[in-house]
Amino acid sequence: MRDFELLQPKNLADALDALAQNNASVHPLAGGTDMLVDIRAQRAQPDVLVALQNVNELRGVTRTNGHLRVGASTTIAEFLKNPLLTEHDALRQAASVFANPLIRNSATIAGNIGSASPAGDMLPPLLAFDAQIELVSKNGTRTMPLNEFFLGPRKTARNANELISNLQLPISNLQTASAFYKLGLRQADAISLVSVAVWLQRDSDMIRDVRIALGAVAPRPMRATRAEEILHGQIFNETNVKEAARVASEECAPIDDLRASANYRRRMVNVYVRRMLEQAWRNF
């Protein structure tokens, strides 16, 4: 494997110092399940890795005044165990099909976000929950909608001197439900062909609010905003759901690759947006 320096800061201040003092080839290291594979494949060529293992400020999941705050170092396995996380169906369903159980024990939520694969499993549910991402550096802290963080395949708004510190998900007191599905070529260890996450807020038989997010069908995980508009404030019925699913399949921008054709992906977006809307509605 490529030669690199490995720093092991004991707290957040030291980690941020390490990132600030080095040049652009410094990179944070969380679970390592993407980074070490990327280094071996020469997709990543860091001179310095800053291991975040001992940085306790990045850990923990808390619920405070209307927000769920998820620390950057939260492992995918924790999304299947911690009751504060497992009550969010779409997040739990995504974690349950994320890579395989061994990877889930190491991989972190910030790692999945920072890698910014268009097919990253946790990204559509986080978009569906309207997550905000907090970035911290020696110069201060900034927060932005996660939807604005992804700039393209493996490109994000994170500056080299910044760390992802946590995610904040707004928690509604009103009735909400969510659902996620990943279509892969096998059950475990699959890279998604298409993934769909939906989040609904209900007001009797009306859809009060809705968010639909798609993975692996555009250069970055995306919100299907035109499909959302069709459902917003409308009655939940077959006609509206079918129309929203059709529009979602039109507004995505999939490519042909070795796993599936663009045409197939579009058709599966149509199928799974409909199914996930129905599934989430049944969960009320």
Binding site: E5, L6, G31, G32, T33, P101, L102, Q187
Partner: protein
């Protein structure tokens, strides 16, 4: 980069080894003589390098050895030996759950972690728990039978 003296606790023994920062736990363990930890894909797909770190099963190929310092590492040899096998090890022998044997250490450790958490797993839970461990010989049926049997054995041991 300069190697550093790292202290690794493996199967209850303490080792001091001079390791470069880019040494994975997998190769550090094999160089210390723990060749029961196998090197397969080195991408986290196959699970041949599975070890327990503080009782959690991980891919040793995706962990840098420096980051394993001070943690309790268990390889399959730490569960038992030929004279005193762990019930999982005995069951893998009894049920013919190993053919070439390359995946076996990882399979047994993933199964150990499962049984620690769910002493009476369903077939689905077993298949899910082993889904990061690939076997290209036996087709998994005997592996599942062996784990089910070991679970019963461990249960009987506990009831005395």
């Amino acid at each position: 980069m300069e190697p550093r003296l790292v202290t690794l606790k493996v199967n209850g023994r303490t080792h001091h080894a001079a390791l470069a920062p880019n040494t994975t736990l997998l190769h550090a363990l094999r160089d210390l003589g723990y060749t029961d930890v196998k090197s397969g894909c080195e991408k986290g797909d196959c699970g041949a390098c599975t070890v327990l770190v503080n009782n959690t099963p991980l891919n040793a190929c995706l962990m840098l050895a420096w980051l394993a310092e001070g943690q309790e590492i268990v390889t399959v040899a730490g569960l038992g030996n030929a004279e005193h096998p762990h019930p999982l090890q005995q069951a893998f022998v009894d049920f013919g759950a190993a053919q070439c044997g390359y995946c076996t250490p990882g399979m047994i450790l993933a199964a150990k972690a499962l049984l620690d958490e769910h002493p009476h797993p369903t077939d689905d839970e077993m298949r899910e728990a082993l889904s990061g461990n690939l076997c290209r010989c036996t087709g998994y049926v005997r592996i599942i039978e062996a784990i089910q049997n070991a679970a019963n054995e461990l249960d009987a041991e506990q009831r005395g």
